[in-house]
Subunit: 240 residues, 4 copies
């Protein structure tokens, strides 16, 4: 199981995240592309940092919403989603090319990620347009109990998926994320480490109902925005 983390979320002179500290712990860097965070120069710095740490680069694409950090859903046609996604992917990929590297996967961010998991046609628009851009680029989506239909479509498009689990979010027995509004929806450090141990041992996760659920995943999403999360990232890395 590879570790992925949101990277490059500064904007202009505003700093966010402790990218230098978390980068040595992770395998996959979800680099913001300027629509919810970052800008061309911050992107270039994020690419350099990923290269120095031999971390694989992904395009963290988003709705255009700096003020809302891409967390607010904004209605778009599927064509618009294709266009804004490939715009961001191409921009990041070109800046990667200047440093002789490339984008390996796409992870939709925030509201676009949630909307993709709710509306299969958004997933379809994304998968199709990525495959038309470059079939070597993977698409990261939420690991759920049944990913059959996603895999089938990805297959048709000729691209691979990366299924991700969230290290710090509670799941129910149906394999859905428990809403952040519910109590117990966000795990503390101890719970996160237990979960990581379980994944390493059995590949299963404990649900909010205290049952064990098998959720096949390729990658685990962790954070790197403060001292505590950096310490946790180091421990998670040493466990895996």
């Amino acid at each position: 199981v590879k570790l992925n983390c949101d990277i490059g979320e500064s904007f202009g002179i505003w700093k966010m995240g402790r990218d230098e500290d978390v980068m040595p712990c992770i395998d996959l860097a979800n680099i913001a592309c300027g629509f919810h965070a970052s800008d061309p120069s911050n992107i270039s710095k994020s690419i350099s940092l990923a290269l120095e740490n031999r971390v694989t680069i992904g395009a963290h694409i988003s709705y255009l919403d700096l003020l809302g950090f891409g967390r607010r859903s904004i209605a778009h046609t599927y064509e618009e989603i294709r266009d804004l996604s490939i715009y961001q992917l191409g921009a990041l990929d070109a800046l990667c090319k200047l440093q002789k590297t490339e984008v390996s996967y796409v992870k939709p961010h925030g509201a676009l990620y949630n909307d993709m998991m709710k509306d299969f046609d958004i997933f379809k628009a994304l998968a199709k347009s990525i495959s038309e851009y470059n079939q070597n680029i993977k698409l990261m989506i939420l690991a759920t109990k049944d990913t059959h239909k996603y895999k089938e479509l990805a297959n048709e498009c000729g691209i691979e998926l990366l299924l991700e689990l969230f290290a710090d979010r509670a799941y129910d027995s149906n394999g859905h994320l428990v809403s952040r509004k519910e109590s117990g929806s966000v795990l503390n450090s101890k719970e996160i480490l237990s979960r990581v141990k379980e994944i390493a041992k059995s590949g299963k996760i404990k649900t909010i109902e205290n049952k064990f659920l098998e959720l096949k995943a390729d990658t685990l999403c962790i954070h790197g925005d403060n001292e505590e999360s950096i310490e946790l990232a180091k421990e998670i890395k040493s466990l895996l």
Copy 2:
């Protein structure tokens, strides 16, 4: 001499330019990349229109300044200019790839164009970064009396230049554009057609001092924003 024109300068629901009408007259479409005009969906439409008319696509890159339409100089480091240019070029190129075409050249827009002609290091930053992205992509600059140093650097970078003349702007005997603030700096339709005839015949242009000047050019910049300019574009095309 090929005709180039600024294309895709709408933004959101705001329309600008008569792209459908001017496209059949031109050879090179300078497509706005979202920093001074346009947005991902308008870019896709501009690419489609260029393809339908078999027009070569160029990236019309700019400082980030929608409100000022990229016409206001904004101080940047050379690294920032590299990053913002490749961001825009990559974004456009990726959207081209979805339609199985590609960007053939870069034309800096507005204040970035002027700054490039004033500060050789900006030209250098642009030439170098374009060549690192893709050596098949050309860079369009102003045709001046002596383009030796530009060509030398382009040569070192392994890219080609496109030298452009403005159809509607007065030149002085040194081959510089006469400032828009001077009277007679902008040519009327009749003068533009005379100039085009001279270029077609002798390759020379008449300066504001009524002398003839040889300015070697690969392309002539025309406009397509209103009825009059469309009529003019048709006449120019038929003359060349």
Copy 3:
């Protein structure tokens, strides 16, 4: 019945609307405040134009969404709606003050207008914050069959409402706007003129089911974006 029209919807160098032509026909100018259209300088020009034509000025406030022209709903807390509304209202009012005039009413634009009519708490947030800013400023909302609860709250806040009818939109017998997706939802010029005559005569409008409905309204919303709408505006004005 006063005529209101969206005014000042240009942005930077992008022009929209035929403000000079429609202004002599209307009573109330809904001036964009920079969040879905316009910018400080276009706002000043719109205020001048309203003053020259002795047209009352309203703040056409919106979600922050230039690319989507404020037509896309974006989730906000009620506090955020208060803050973005008063920010825009204050900005416009200050620019009015420079020209010795003032804002007389607020009309939410696009998605914010629709959201206000769907979520009473948004209406409440708007009414309350406007009243705290200046109780002389009215709030324009959609005229519906039963406006009791809106009027009651406005009364509590000490502000007045302006109820508006759309000249060009079909209504059903419940007094709701027929969705734009339905056929017949948008009236043609002839139908619009019939409606205006009916309003002038009986104060009633014909619904899509061909029944007559009394919808008490203070103002009628018309358009001024093209030649046809300008002609229509003149006819409507002469009828009223």
Copy 4:
């Protein structure tokens, strides 16, 4: 001598500055108005914090340039400067009104501040438009050796000036700020405290040539962005 500090420079979820910690030390809060930093909701929070600490509120107005934090000069006409300034001032003043307070002064930020001190006509545009908006609002400018012409114009406009000294910047014997590019241009904590003591004692400051210069000032600009600056702010406050 009153202490002023830049406040409310967060934007969306990006935090900047330690406003809660520095606010108890200062007299005047230069609150960002959304053009170089902040947004309507962050503005409201900044106003609340100023009120809690009984700190006078100023509008920290700027060119529109979030990415460059308002530090890059952008060419504007004087009318545009008037419009963007009053837009921001009005927006902040309206949000103040909701909390039953008001804007007491305007401080141009970053490049606009520098441009105002270089181009008297920009100062004039600002002074004139502020006076037309509200003659009770003061304008903060740089204290220089000779402020005669500024005071004369302010007088004509019927507004007052606030002359400010920078606590942390070296001055030359002509009363000009030493460019940040020169060595010794930015004072360390010890030097800053010496300067504050001198101001408190004699009203004079030591120049980079080790001479004493009398620069009449109403306010001293300090910072509050990190632990060190907060400690310094407390010491400065206790000295004055």
